[in-house]
């Protein structure tokens, strides 16, 4: 009976691949298009604002470099958490999942500070085309990070209650795919919006 239940947790497609993982990669492919359109919109309106503040007046490169580094290191923490779960180590899983949550929250803190600073500088969504396209793009990215942090927190609680054995490593792997995707979107945003002005 127990063996039947274990097999029921994995649904394989005709390709022999897990259906959850196939579906999630298809979702990530669609997310590429979602963020692609937001980035395209930003680039389309780049330099079209008729009133300030303009990007070079408000964008803080040193601050964003630190938040970019934080998000990259959270991806490292994520793969180490997956490795911990696959090894069956509760301690490693908790440490590294906790690391992902902490680094994700730090990134969101940086973004909240940046948004608040911009508003104080007079940059709001209706202010100009830069404000509209910038806040929509980075805001949606921040929303994705927030969802990721909540997802990691649920995995952390499951690990804490000994409900994340190696047999359930696929759940962590799929959550990891989401987290790494959020990271690669930020890699693109960092270079196109912040560094190439």
């Amino acid at each position: 009976m127990a063996e039947v239940m274990v097999h029921d947790e994995h649904h394989y497609t005709a390709t022999g691949l897990d259906s959850w993982k196939v579906g999630f990669w298809a979702f990530i492919g669609s997310e590429c298009l979602f963020f692609g359109t937001l980035i395209a919109t930003y680039l389309t309106y780049k330099g079209s604002s008729v009133q300030g503040p303009y990007p070079h007046e408000v964008l803080d490169i040193p601050l964003t470099t630190i938040s970019t580094f934080v998000l990259l290191m959270s991806s490292l923490s994520m793969v180490l958490a997956l490795d911990g779960v696959q090894r069956g180590s509760k301690k490693l899983a908790l440490v590294w999942l906790g690391g992902v949550i902490a680094l994700g929250l730090v990134f969101l803190g940086f973004q909240a500070y940046e948004f608040t600073h911009f508003v104080h500088e007079g940059l709001t969504i209706p202010r100009n085309l830069f404000g509209s396209s910038f806040f929509v793009l980075t805001g949606f990215h921040g929303a994705h990070v927030t969802v990721g942090v909540i997802w990691m927190a649920t995995l952390f609680i499951l690990a804490l209650r000994d409900r994340l054995p190696p047999a359930k490593a696929l759940n962590v792997e799929i959550a990891g795919l989401y987290w790494h995707f959020v990271d690669i979107v930020w890699i693109v945003i960092f270079v196109l919006i912040y560094l190439i002005q």
Binding site: G29, A40, G176
Partner: protein, 102 residues
């Protein structure tokens, strides 16, 4: 360097992941250095190359596409190519050839 998982994919060793993390940190530092050096016409292509390298490293090694089924690569690359086409087409139309975008 890699071991197979029960799902058909593989994963690298912990030391390898730390090395990838270090490479990503170095590439980010190089990006910021290029930004502050203000290299003129080569700056944007150089930044895009460094960014593409970071992107590829995360996708191949942290998302395990390097070790996983090519079907996953196909699903991801399809969305990525379409998104790149949309970005390139709109950028070309509105920023490079603005007189035609009326």
């Amino acid at each position: 360097m890699t071991t197979e998982t029960e799902h058909g994919g593989g994963h690298a060793s912990v030391g390898f992941y730390w090395m990838i993390g270090g490479i990503l940190a170095v590439l980010t530092a190089m990006e910021v250095a290029v930004f502050y050096m203000a290299l003129g016409r080569v700056e944007a292509p150089l930044l895009l190359t460094l960014s593409a390298a970071k992107f590829a490293i995360v996708v191949m090694f942290f998302m395990h596409l390097r070790f996983d089924s090519r079907i996953f690569t196909g699903l991801f690359v399809t969305g990525l190519v379409l998104a790149t086409f949309v970005i390139s087409a709109l950028y070309l139309l509105y920023q490079v050839l603005p007189n035609y975008a009326v």
